[in-house]
């Protein structure tokens, strides 16, 4: 059974290695506000921060363009850095980009690779803990919003979302609703009705490929639109 836990709550009487939990006196305690599943011994954060992991898809804004590096604002404790040998196109300050995380270096800078410039459009910021809900299981949620609003959307795991074309206002409203009601059930149907999208069949896709697929799907959608 799932229950909401707050920092300092006892999870189990045994010392277990659970993400976002600490072990003290051979007992495991939560350090965040989250949903704890006693059978699976898993803690799902309801609020949380983004930790850079290799191959994460992120959306960012170019802060400064120097001779062969660009610094990127990522909505995270650390700044992003693009080294020119990893990029093909020239970027200038203020550009929106989509990129993959290569590594987090010792000085606390996120090295990015494969940057792509996202032309026009706008960026919104959501809490990184809500990103998985915005994507939905097997990307169902984001597919619905993309198809219903005909907006091209790129979701960064860092909590920045880029949108362009179509009914942007409706797409933003839908994403905000998902974030607001992330802990409730039956949300996919609700958003489906809101944006007027056809129902999606469920597919099982591993978590890592989710965001990449989202991007590809969005590109297809745009091609279809053209």
């Amino acid at each position: 059974m799932r229950k909401i836990v707050i920092p300092g709550d006892l999870l189990t009487d045994k010392p277990l290695r659970i993400l976002d939990a600490i072990v003290e006196d051979n007992k495991t305690y939560s350090t965040i506000i989250g949903l704890y599943d006693d059978e699976k011994k898993s803690l799902i954060p309801l609020e949380g921060l983004w930790y850079p992991n290799r191959d994460d898809v992120v959306v960012g804004i170019i802060e400064e363009s120097k001779l062969n590096t660009e610094t990127v604002i990522l909505n995270a404790p650390y700044k992003g850095l693009i080294i020119s040998k990893y990029s093909e196109s020239h970027m200038s300050s203020g550009d929106f980009i989509e990129a993959n995380v290569k590594e987090l270096d010792k000085t606390g800078t996120v090295i990015l690779t494969r940057p792509k410039i996202l032309h026009d459009g706008k960026i919104i910021r959501i809490k990184p803990s809500k990103v998985n809900r915005v994507l939905g299981k097997a990307n169902t949620m984001i597919k619905q919003i993309t198809e219903g609003t005909k907006t091209r959307i790129v979701v960064g795991l860092n909590g920045l979302i880029w949108l362009n074309g179509g009914n942007i206002d409706l797409a933003i409203k839908a994403i905000e609703t998902v974030c607001k009601e992330a802990h409730t059930s039956g949300l996919t149907e609700k958003i489906g009705t809101m944006v007027g999208a056809p129902k999606q069949p469920n597919q099982k896709i591993s978590k890592e490929t989710e965001t990449k697929e989202t991007t590809e799907n969005n590109e297809k959608t745009e091609e279809e639109m053209i």
Partner: protein
């Protein structure tokens, strides 16, 4: 400051409370949109907003610690928060002191080693004050921290105790604070009963101190429950 005001009459305090009673406490979370996490508390006549920013890159860079995050706390009273002069010309000595001790409370609570080289900012803004704002501020900031998703090992609560004559009282308001014989704000981690803040004006005997701590720990159960309810209520339908 001692005066001729009779603070306890027929066993009751000026506002009708018994010596061991708390004032009414209400907490609301996520009141500020652009902060990482925030909370608003109404503790009697105190009204306080606490907001959390970060973890961000520590600025100026020399303040950064490569092994852990630094906590920067700012406690400020709004110029209109009380009848006395406050905050019109920036932080005064009192605000600097409270900012320091509050920051130290949270240094003991946040898992700082997870964010090396960054800073976590805690802002406590007192909108209306009626005594015990540092305790209310810490209680409120703890909720804001939990709401922000920054990992903390426990949810601290804080409350003050003091004495009027020989009677130990809990949760002093402005008049009691000014005219009582002792005032002792304490912050505690409820799980381990670890004391993370203890300051005192005036003096207490050993027995009075023990009684005061017992009152504080007892009232802590109520405060912790209010904090928990505030955090969980945002997710209940």
């Amino acid at each position: 400051m001692k005066g001729n005001i009779e603070l306890i009459k027929d066993g009751k305090r000026l506002d009708g409370r018994l010596p061991g009673d708390l004032r009414d406490i209400k907490i609301k979370t996520n009141v500020v949109k652009n902060a990482q996490g925030s909370a608003y508390i109404e503790w009697g006549n105190n009204k306080i907003i606490a907001a959390i920013h970060g973890p961000n890159e520590a600025l100026p860079r020399h303040t950064a610690n490569p092994n852990k995050a630094v906590v920067k706390c700012r406690y400020m009273m709004a110029p209109f928060s009380s009848s006395e002069e406050h905050g019109r010309s920036g932080m005064n000595r009192r605000a600097v002191e409270i900012s320091k001790v509050t920051g130290e409370v949270f240094e003991n609570v946040i898992l700082l080693d997870q964010f090396p080289g960054t800073e976590i900012s805690i802002y406590i803004e007192v909108i209306q004050s009626d005594g015990g704002t540092r305790a209310a501020g810490i209680t409120c900031a703890a909720v804001a921290l939990a709401a922000s998703g920054i990992p903390i090992k426990d949810l601290p609560f804080s409350v003050s105790a003091g004495k009027v004559g020989e009677t130990v009282i809990l949760d002093l308001n402005k008049i009691e604070d000014n005219y009582s014989d002792a005032d002792m704000p304490v912050a505690v981690l409820p799980r381990t009963k670890e004391v993370v803040l203890l300051q005192m004006d005036g003096s207490l005997t050993k027995k009075q101190y023990t009684d005061a701590m017992a009152l504080i720990l007892e009232s802590g159960k109520k405060i912790s429950k209010i904090q928990r309810d505030a955090l969980i209520s945002q997710y209940s339908q």
